[in-house]
């Protein structure tokens, strides 16, 4: 089974529904491409796009564009042609982009800028018009579950980016394991604010096609534009990253309600959500179901979910539920997880390295091959623990763990305490080389506008809530933390700047 099997079901079963685009087709001046596509139009477009890919013997489709109808057309055209989609970040610097593109010399590159590549480049406009040409001579797709559907670069917060190999069977398993065909209401619509080169952008698109939910893209996030879009587009579901929710709660200030009556579900993930932000958001969106989704590029996105009931219990003050608000919830039905220490699998509630397995877990990188062990387990390189009821707590990347005088310290624990201080807007904790302790704890802190706190005050704050060995030896103040577009903190850069000052 491949992704087109599922797209064809959507085209057959929900022929009148809009797959992607606004509530109403805008006036099209100057022969602009349609802003909306139905499922049958998406499938026909994929066939036409595949015909172009065949004619130019493309080995891959590199998508360097922004979110929009061209993106699902690229994903499904590539599937039809039996080649991978490679979505890349168009905001990368010239050298980084050139380095990534050098791995894809025989790709067709869809881009509205002039990317540093010798491969053939076409604009989004040209791509849309190629997909609009009838291509009845293009043969049907080969149903090959082993074919590679997408190569997605990991965010590379701790090491250089690697291309995760996602085969059709991985993505299909994810969809069949997590959503039901045609389950969305006819008027449901999802507002997507994650970029197309992120696994959540790919998985989300496919989920929505399979459940029959219209996708609306927000090109550039600002709190006001997001709120306006939810209202005018009658959005029922939204997907955001934690930094966006943080900006939204700041923007709404003392408001008592966000005023988005159609919104029923708000899913977040991609990075850690600071608890104070989440608690404020739960007040601002009282009738909305909050869902925390945890997953990795290598697992085709979501593998664990903290659902609406867990969020509500926490808001009502249930102490266990409040603790679990810091977890990523429970595993999807098809996914297993194991926490391992140096001696193997650990009992419940013991922190260690998180391993996962299941049919949606790829664990394969281009040029490196499969990284699964003999029993199919994938080392996520995240550290955490699973409580007695199966709630998974993620402390952070194993590579980020600070080892101070032999003690393993998760930066997240200290960051959470710093974020509880009313003057702190953002904080990142890293380990810096230290002659006495091996590593010492350093924190980069962003203060709220108009608020002040000095390093000694913050050190005292942490010491009184944790203990001396977890108190940062160094605290520096900065205007902002370097982040990926989805809100993951770039610790490499923070570490480099801190080391250069010591």
């Amino acid at each position: 089974m491949n992704l087109l099997t599922l797209a064809e079901m959507a085209a057959t079963g929900m022929p009148g529904r809009i797959a992607v685009g606004p509530l109403r087709e805008p006036d099209r001046a100057g022969g602009a491409d349609p802003a909306r596509l139905t499922y049958p139009q998406l499938l026909d477009g994929a066939r036409a796009g595949a015909s172009l890919l065949r004619d130019c013997a493309a080995a891959e489709v590199v998508y360097l564009g922004v979110n929009g109808p061209a993106f699902p057309l690229a994903l499904l055209s590539a599937a039809w042609a039996g080649i991978p989609l490679v979505p890349l970040n168009y905001r990368l610097g010239h050298d980084q982009l050139a380095a990534l593109l050098s791995h894809h010399p025989r790709a067709l590159v869809i881009s509205d800028v002039t990317p540093p590549t010798s491969a053939r480049v076409i604009s989004t406009r040209e791509w849309r018009s190629a997909c609009a040409k009838p291509a009845a001579d293009m043969p049907l797709w080969q149903d090959d579950p082993e074919a590679v559907a997408a190569l997605i670069y990991t965010s590379g917060t701790t090491s250089s980016p690697k291309a995760a190999v996602l085969r059709h069977r991985h993505l299909v398993s994810y969809l069949l394991g997590s959503v039901d065909f045609g389950a969305a209401g006819e008027r449901d619509a999802m507002l997507v604010s994650v970029p197309p080169y992120h696994i959540a952008g790919v998985a989300n698109l496919l989920s929505n096609v399979y459940v029959g939910r219209r996708v609306v893209y927000l090109e550039a996030f600002t709190p006001q534009e997001w709120l306006d879009c939810v209202r005018t587009q009658q959005i029922s579901h939204a997907l955001i990253v934690p930094t966006m929710l943080a900006r939204m709660t700041e923007y709404l200030g003392d408001a008592t309600d966000a005023g988005v009556p159609t919104l029923r579900s708000l899913a977040y993930g991609g990075a850690r959500m600071p608890l104070p932000v989440l608690e404020r958001a739960l007040w601002l969106f009282p009738s909305v179901d909050f869902v925390n989704a945890y997953g990795l590029t290598e697992t085709c996105s979501t593998i664990a979910i903290l659902g609406p009931a867990d969020h509500r219990l926490a808001l009502a003050g249930d102490p266990l539920a409040r603790r679990r608000l810091g977890s990523v919830g429970r595993l999807l039905p098809g996914v297993q997880a194991q926490v391992r220490g140096t001696g193997g699998a650990l009992p419940a509630s013991q922190p260690g390295d998180i391993y996962v397995r299941g049919p949606q877990v790829s664990g394969e990188y281009r040029d490196l091959g499969s990284q699964l062990d003999d029993e199919g387990w994938f080392a996520t390189r995240d550290r955490g623990w699973i409580d007695a009821d199966g709630y998974l707590f993620v402390e952070g990347r194993a590579d980020d763990t600070i080892i101070r005088g032999g003690e393993n310290i998760a930066p997240a624990e200290i960051e959470e305490v710093l974020l509880e201080h009313s003057a702190v807007a953002d904080a990142a904790v890293v380990g810096v080389p230290d002659e006495r302790w091996g590593q010492d704890i350093a924190a980069a802190v962003v203060l709220r506008p108009g608020r002040s706190a000095d390093a000694e005050e913050l050190r005292g704050w942490v010491r009184s809530r944790l203990r001396g060995s977890k108190t940062p030896g160094l605290i520096v103040f900065t205007d902002e933390l370097p982040q990926t577009p989805t809100g993951k903190v770039l610790r490499r850069e923070i570490l480099a700047s801190l080391v250069s000052r010591t």
Binding site: M1, T12, L176, V179, D180, A200, D289, V291
Partner: protein, 100 residues
């Protein structure tokens, strides 16, 4: 008897029904639609046996509790699905919230 493994596509020989296997059965089983064995080919044998109609629905998952066989209906039709004569039942929808 057709070998049914995950991903096997089967067609009805009496109606438009097509399915894909999502979970293989624990023991070999004969999957029928409208009273006639489903096949990997596309030959039509005629109309359903009486009592073997009732139809299949697009996108529904059908299961045989006894062997664990689970199929996804990718094209609907008029015949009813059965495993060794036992009518398959529609699997209850998932209770998961929308996560992405």
């Amino acid at each position: 008897m057709t070998d049914i493994t995950v991903g096997t596509r089967l067609r009805s020989s009496v109606c438009d029904t097509e399915v894909i296997t999502v979970r293989a059965p624990d023991v070999p089983v004969e999957l029928s639609c409208g009273g006639y064995p489903m096949t990997a080919g596309s030959s039509r044998a005629g109309s359903s046996r009486s009592g073997a109609d009732g139809g299949t629905l697009l996108g529904k998952r059908y299961v045989d509790e006894q062997t664990g066989l689970e199929v996804l209906c990718t094209k609907p039709g008029a015949g009813r699905l059965a495993a060794d004569g036992r009518a398959l039942t529609i699997k209850a929808p998932k209770a998961l919230p929308a996560s992405d």
